[in-house]
């Protein structure tokens, strides 16, 4: 059998609960050592996808393989190469952090010595040494997530599913989680992450698949997705009304937006280097002084809104 370059591969994946079609034919491919972010709002089908990919849930049609193993007929083999964490996974609240780790390690079929040594290593790495002998019920939300992730790494699986790993965490805990995830990536782990935070996908993932209503509505790198929507925006602010008016006249039809009260002018730029210089040259010729300027990249938020918005309009047309 030819070894696929994709570690995780789903083709035309469909799943319904009765009449409710949760997944309407999803295709996913994750290359070895990369991270794919599955981005979408609540109810888009993210968790359902992860549960199927991690052998927890049966599906109706399509094919799903992880490391070349079929998730349905070879679930045991799949389970020995994956780690699962996030929304749908959990730790035992009445066991200590260390006990949780050692137990899960043993259940991954590690020897007792290996499980213990690895548990210690993970406790150190995840800053849980002090809390190691306390029951998990006493942990804060952030500590619990770290333990949860540590547990799924106990046997160092080459493939990790992170189902909304930072949902509900405070900003500081989220940053700590991101660092941990970046470390994992640096070691060559193949990761599938689901998130409803655009910033998270932007920060971490090599590739992003946007899903909505059980369908893939866009995919690509963060840069590619942003490029689909938008140009960079140059925002200029002026110190007085005189400069503002002169500038509006000078730049003329290139203005995308102007705000008299704030004395700001926004210009859409295609080729950032050239267009920004051109605009500034025009202003210099007219002897207009600029108080401040800023270049805004389109955010994934813009991308997301415009994509899902379009999707809904298309849906309306279909209805007619």
């Amino acid at each position: 059998m030819a070894v696929s370059k994709y570690v995780i591969e789903a083709k035309n994946l469909k799943k319904s609960y009765g009449a409710n079609k949760v997944l309407k034919g999803i295709d996913l491919k994750v290359e070895r050592g990369t991270m794919l972010a599955l981005l979408g709002p609540n109810g888009a089908g993210k968790t359902t996808s992860v549960r199927i990919l991690s052998t927890l849930l049966k599906f109706d049609s399509g094919t799903v393989t992880v490391e070349g193993y079929d998730v349905q007929s070879e679930s045991d083999k799949v389970r020995s190469v994956i780690g699962l964490t996030g929304q749908s996974a959990a730790v035992d609240e009445l066991l200590t952090g260390r006990e949780n780790l050692v137990m899960m390690g043993r259940l991954y079929r590690l020897t007792n010595e290996s499980a213990k040594a690895r548990a210690q290593e993970l406790l150190e790495e995840f800053d849980l040494v002090e809390a190691a002998e306390r029951t998990a019920i006493t942990y804060s939300g952030g500590m619990r997530r770290r333990l949860d992730l540590a547990v799924s790494l106990i046997a160092a699986p080459p493939v990790i599913f992170l189902d909304e790993p930072t949902t509900g965490l405070d900003p500081r805990s989220r940053l700590v989680m991101w660092d941990i995830i970046k470390n994992l990536m640096a070691r060559g782990t193949t990761i599938l992450l689901t998130t409803q935070y655009l910033e998270e996908a932007d920060q971490l993932a090599d590739k992003i698949v946007v899903i909505d209503g059980g369908k893939v509505i866009a995919e690509g790198t963060a840069k590619e997705l942003k490029a689909k929507i938008g140009k960079d925006r140059l925002e200029l602010t002026f110190s007085n009304n005189g400069s503002f008016e002169k500038a509006v006249k000078a730049i003329g039809k290139d203005i995308a937006e102007s705000n008299e009260k704030e004395r700001t002018v926004t210009v859409l730029v295609k080729d950032t280097n050239v267009d920004v210089r051109k605009t500034l040259d025009t202003l210099a010729e007219e002897k207009v002084t600029v108080l401040s300027m800023a270049i805004h990249k389109p955010t994934l938020d813009d991308v997301f809104l415009s994509l899902t918005g379009k999707q809904k309009q298309a849906g309306k047309k279909e209805d007619k």
């Binding site: 549960r51 991690s54 052998t55 927890l56 849930l57 049966k58 045991d76 389970r79 020995s80 994956i82 780690g83 699962l84 749908s88 996974a89 959990a90 730790v91 035992d92 609240e93 009445l94 066991l95 006990e99 137990m103 899960m104 043993r106 259940l107 991954y108 079929r109 590690l110 020897t111 010595e113 290996s114 040594a117 690895r118 290593e121 029951t135 547990v151 046997a155 160092a156 070691r187």
Partner: protein, 269 residues
Amino acid sequence: MAVELVFEKKPKIVLQLNDSLLMIKRSSRHIIRNTDQLLGTFFQPIMFLVLFAAVFGGAISKALPTGVSYLDFLMAGIIVQTVAFGSTTTAIAVSNDLKKGIVDRFRSLPMSNIAVLNGHVVSDLFRNTISTVVMLLAGLVIGFRSSASFTDWLMIAGILLLFTFAFSWLAAIVGVIAKSVEAVQWLSFVIVFPLTFASTAFVPSEGMSPVLKAFAVNQPITQVIEAVRALILSMPIGNHGWMAVVWSLGIIVVAMPVASWLFRRKTSN
């Protein structure tokens, strides 16, 4: 990563057995860590024993064979009742596991899933043994005396353990079926309460109405109670001994595969 990971290379059946041992260890730790439940394990049986002996003792002693005190008569009944109610903890534990998502974690591991149920059922044996010993000690303090020999006590232990094991598997079914922990509570209560009260646990069957009596003397809990009682009081055990064993084995043979099947079905959706 500095630690070199070594994986077990034992036959699958050994590994699966090991899964169950790990789960038994886990559930047994729960017994000690869950302090609220632990208090119940100690005090509920003592409370029942003292209350029943004090409240019913005077009224019922006349109906008892001469020379038998109500406390000595009651002991078998109250032990079996405690064990039957105690099996509810298996149901609660199973229901909790299913609800809190840890079963998903276990299922994503290359382990035997039924080990989770084995863990709860077997640890229930430990917990019920503690309850029973506490109750016997409390009984001794307030005047319980038995003429049973050491061999009799071994037989009592055997019958009770088998019965507990059987009832815990029934409880496991309740735990899988029930939609919430609250549902487990009332469902268990509705099953266990009539079974223990419509039995000879607290009163002899002579005074019961014919229909009630017919049910009471033939149902499994009465068989277990009568067997244990006969051994405690050094009276002829009759058919009760083997009936108790047959009932328990029968329940195990049916409930174990049913619980496992339901658990598998519930968790694969």
